[in-house]
Point group: D2
Chain length 356, copies 4
């Protein structure tokens, strides 16, 4: 766990919880180390209740079930069932955002396992042998997906599915993905799955390029290979001089949002998925970059049950899930979480799986 911001990762023994009605205990088979965990470790997110058991997404087997738990199909969930769960708990379904705006990812009651639930709340993170699944947690059967395969997509896949839903890619479109970390890689494969004819990617470091190509990118530009302006030209040369029909920003760098606007064609769409933490301001030109371009620029925050549901579908599907199964990821024992975290932090791997 993370005892406090910028402190070394610790392994601790905690008691198993008493389950209340509607609760369950998940025996974790696989969880992941993602970029959010790196931010959490460094204390970059506001409102995090340290000490924290990280790992917002995990999958495994129901070790104990108390009461009547059901999947969305209405079938009862039982001990021994292989499941994952929506990391977002307690969107209230009774506030204005949930009920009128129908934007549950902006519900103020939203609680997230491994991020806004701390160790004081119990075993509420995936870097653990067991996760305490509180009442109301949405469970999803893994079906054809294995825990490992689902975690290869991990938290980035529902995030990317939400982004693609907003992007409305049409068959034959050109799609540019900025960033080739886990979210960018999932965006590449999903853009392909949605019918893009031409998928371009810009990102780094260079060791991730092979991943981007195996996920389905036609061409990848290493970020360091060209200066800013030349990158837009690189895109225009590959899109009939117009820019990409759709740009998916998945980098975390504020200037990438402006780059996304400049690389999109007039009357195209930009989906901003990568700005999960505050890295400050960036300047843009509202006339040239937005109004005259008649552009759609769409922020995309978090994901909801539907995106997790489809993520399980995708990773369990023989054809749709193939890109993620081909993705090289590194596996670590739970005891080596610190090493896994370091490998993600320094970019040595794009995704690390933790196996208890």
């Amino acid at each position: 766990m993370f005892p406090a911001p910028d402190h070394p990762v610790e392994l601790r023994e905690l008691p198993l919880p008493e389950l209340a009605d509607g609760e369950a205990l998940l025996a974790v088979e696989c969880s992941e180390v993602c970029g959010t965990d790196v931010h959490l470790h460094r204390g970059r997110l506001a409102g995090v209740p340290y000490p924290l058991i990280p790992g917002h997404v995990a999958a495994g087997t129901l070790a104990k079930v108390r009461g009547d738990l059901r999947c969305v199909a209405g079938a009862p969930l039982q001990e021994g069932d292989r499941v994952t769960f929506l990391d977002v708990h307690r969107t209230c379904h009774r506030c204005w955002y949930c009920l009128v705006a129908k934007a549950s990812t902006r519900c103020p009651e939203r609680k997230v396992y491994g991020i806004t639930y701390g160790a004081a709340d119990g075993l509420c993170g995936g870097w653990s042998d067991y996760v305490h699944l509180l009442a109301g947690t949405r469970l999803i059967r893994l079906g054809n997906s294995t825990a490992r395969d689902f975690l290869r997509g991990g938290c980035s896949l529902p995030t990317a599915l939400h982004g693609l839903q907003r992007a409305q890619v049409q068959i034959g479109d050109s799609v540019l993905v900025l960033g080739i970390g886990p979210v960018g890689l999932s965006c590449i494969a999903l853009a392909r799955a949605a019918g893009a004819a031409n998928v371009l990617a810009i990102g780094g470091p260079p060791n991730r390029v092979a991943n981007a190509l195996s996920m389905g990118a036609d061409e990848v530009l290493v970020l360091s290979a060209l200066p800013d302006d030349a990158r837009a030209r690189w895109v225009y040369e590959r899109t009939h001089g117009r820019g990409a029909d759709v740009v998916l920003e998945a980098t975390g760098a504020p200037q990438a949002v402006v780059q996304a606007m400049r690389c999109a064609r007039d009357a195209g769409r930009v989906v901003v998925i990568g700005q999960y933490t505050d890295h400050g301001e960036v300047a843009f030109n509202p006339h040239a970059d937005l109004n005259k371009k008649h552009l759609d620029v769409l922020g995309c925050w978090g994901s909801d049950y539907s995106h997790f549901h489809r993520a399980v579908q995708v990773t369990g599907d023989a054809r749709l899930g193939a890109p993620w199964r081909s993705l090289s990821v590194q596996e670590f024992a739970l005891a080596d979480a610190a090493a896994a975290l370091a490998a993600v932090a320094n970019g040595a791997v794009s995704k690390a799986l933790l196996l208890p």
Copy 2:
């Protein structure tokens, strides 16, 4: 006419044109002085072929018709018919933007009367007794609308209709309009017409506030009354602490685009209509202003035939057109165009009509 950038307005006698097949001559009854004319006079737009006869929107009577001209209903247009015309001529309907993207306002062949047609092209501006309507110009019967009433909306009404189309206001929404010049005023009335329950406006100068209220704003904040941050608070206090469901930016000031994002509710919509000229860059925070807000930010450029068509419908409609008929505008003789231009430039009037 404008002989050259920053030169005094001149009145010149020019010969009436010989009409080719498919052309017509419009006897102007009314044209307008808009903000674009102020920019044109000062030489702020690129690619303008001075000397220029300004006035991109005008209405009047067909003085001569050569060949078979028809309105969209297929009925022939004849001498004596009262019409206006789509100021945008020659969107090619054969380029990728016209035919595949279906974004004709981004057609590179686009020519605009009074802006990109100069005096060398003939009588191609509305500040004139006659306008030479070239073949392929889309003519619209005024129907129940008078030329004067149509010009009270003028170029700002189709622009605002396009903005409202992108905004998708729902019955009961709160709408914030930034800017209370002609486009902002039309946005206020249209937001009301589209079912908004609560229409707020921020703008200036103070002499326009009465106009904004008469167009249907519930409350108007004078721009100079509060500093930037306090303005957002003013909006939040009037929208249940959430921000407006829809924000329509119609100001011309880059910082208003950022203000628009900050005044919109999470998962709301911002339509950027006001950035028609390049006033430079502005800084924003992609994390806080866009991604985390799950916002739609939509640039909206120009207008097409459908917006002009509906503009004539609106101004001619007893109920929908009422706000524009109540709008105080100032009328000038064509010979006083310089005075009309000065009145618009210094904000003394929000709209000036020119009557030959």
Copy 3:
């Protein structure tokens, strides 16, 4: 109450309930008699647990509150607060329809006060001095609306709001409403509120025509005045020979759905709101009525919290709510429920309010 299908209405004394945590008791100020009540009385709906306390929509004052109840704005609800409630209770927010399809009106767990909750479930209908509001019922503050004014819209207003949301009326559109019962009347006013330039209605009986005009219809054709084919012609003559941009079907008669398709313009939209009970089949021509017309035909079932929320907003709004306040309705004492039901059943009134 309705003791059984086709039995006389009875007035019975029932004990007040013990409230469990999260429950409340509503002192009814006003409820309504709607078409559904007529169907329920005649036993035309499947799965209704007679005996039944009818009245799915009601408004009044919270007489007792047990536990922490809150409105969507998060503010606590207290005894003495004036509220209405979403008649649909127990959409589960955990099934595939609620969570993946996001179509909660098709949730199989859905329970409706006064329809699928019977007297055995307690005081779960509005034709009563008190309604027992079960835990999880969504309460809405009446705000500027009075109970009577809200009930003038009643159940038909959220239904119509849902229909209008699907119809996507644009400013200047022509809208045809089929049916001038309560739902049709609300559709007329909402089409107007959404910016329609031309609102036509076809319906009967003749005594409702004045209502349709006062709600904002430009012209009303009495159903019996013209045969079927001539009615379509009547619409075409008023819509430039094209048919209406949007047709809202709100009749209950299967043949009206086909009429709606025939009265819509090519590439227009038809929203089917009126087929709440099964009146059998009707024949149409898929080539001529649907495919060649490039038509959108959209079924619209029930309403959710957002529609009730906006309904309260609309009826409480000085401007938007005006049509419903002008609507002539008849008020009955609770003891005269049988007379009220008869008046609705025979079309003497379009809407009857019940006042305990």
Copy 4:
């Protein structure tokens, strides 16, 4: 050519046309025999100007060009260039449907090569050595596509692309295609390309099942294998008991439209593409099939330039075009057009190509 309805196909020698400015002559490399040709041969379409040179879609090489012809990218077209053309000529771009409704497939001026242009208009059909391309015809470079590969999709591919655009398939959706003729087969491959996880098809005759599977269907039900009701059950068993998220009707049989509604899940989408000719009426239940299901039923008529443009992109794309290249089609010499027509009419082949 077809001299008259129900007359034998004839081969005739006609003079090559004099080209006017803006016109071109296409040396046909490949054209096709589609279901429309069978209908035309039997005289089933209204308003066809016999004698007729059939073949609305064809591809080849520009043998002569007169004047300045350009592709959508603005590059000049020259003799020797390999092209196809949009079969729909003369959508007027000046009527209400073209300009306000933006529904050019419903333009009343629409003329179609090989269908509404007869032999009296010149060499205006593809079953010919040459096609006279009139001024204003939209030409599309074949690029990476060969004429034969493009014609394997032929007229059915743009039709299906239009249908898929309306269907808005999401990644992970289940899609049911009714009909496995050329349009149905293209729908299967496009549903797959758009991200469907599960593509089901129902159709016949049995010899086409292999085609449907090679295009990407997961399972195909032969129409004759099960009675009507049992077919819906077959779909429900394969879609978690809910019905398909999207149903694409591509059969021509009126009852298939009702079957489509019954096989779609609640709140799903049905796109009706197959009703190009009038086969009479069919009965449905508006309550059970449409309103209570909260269904979108969308007619889809014809195609426009954008669909042809994307069709060329798809067939020329290594990955997206693979299904069509794997499709077994039969090739005939122009002189054997009668045999080709017979083969299509009796279902022996699903698509016949004609090679001059």
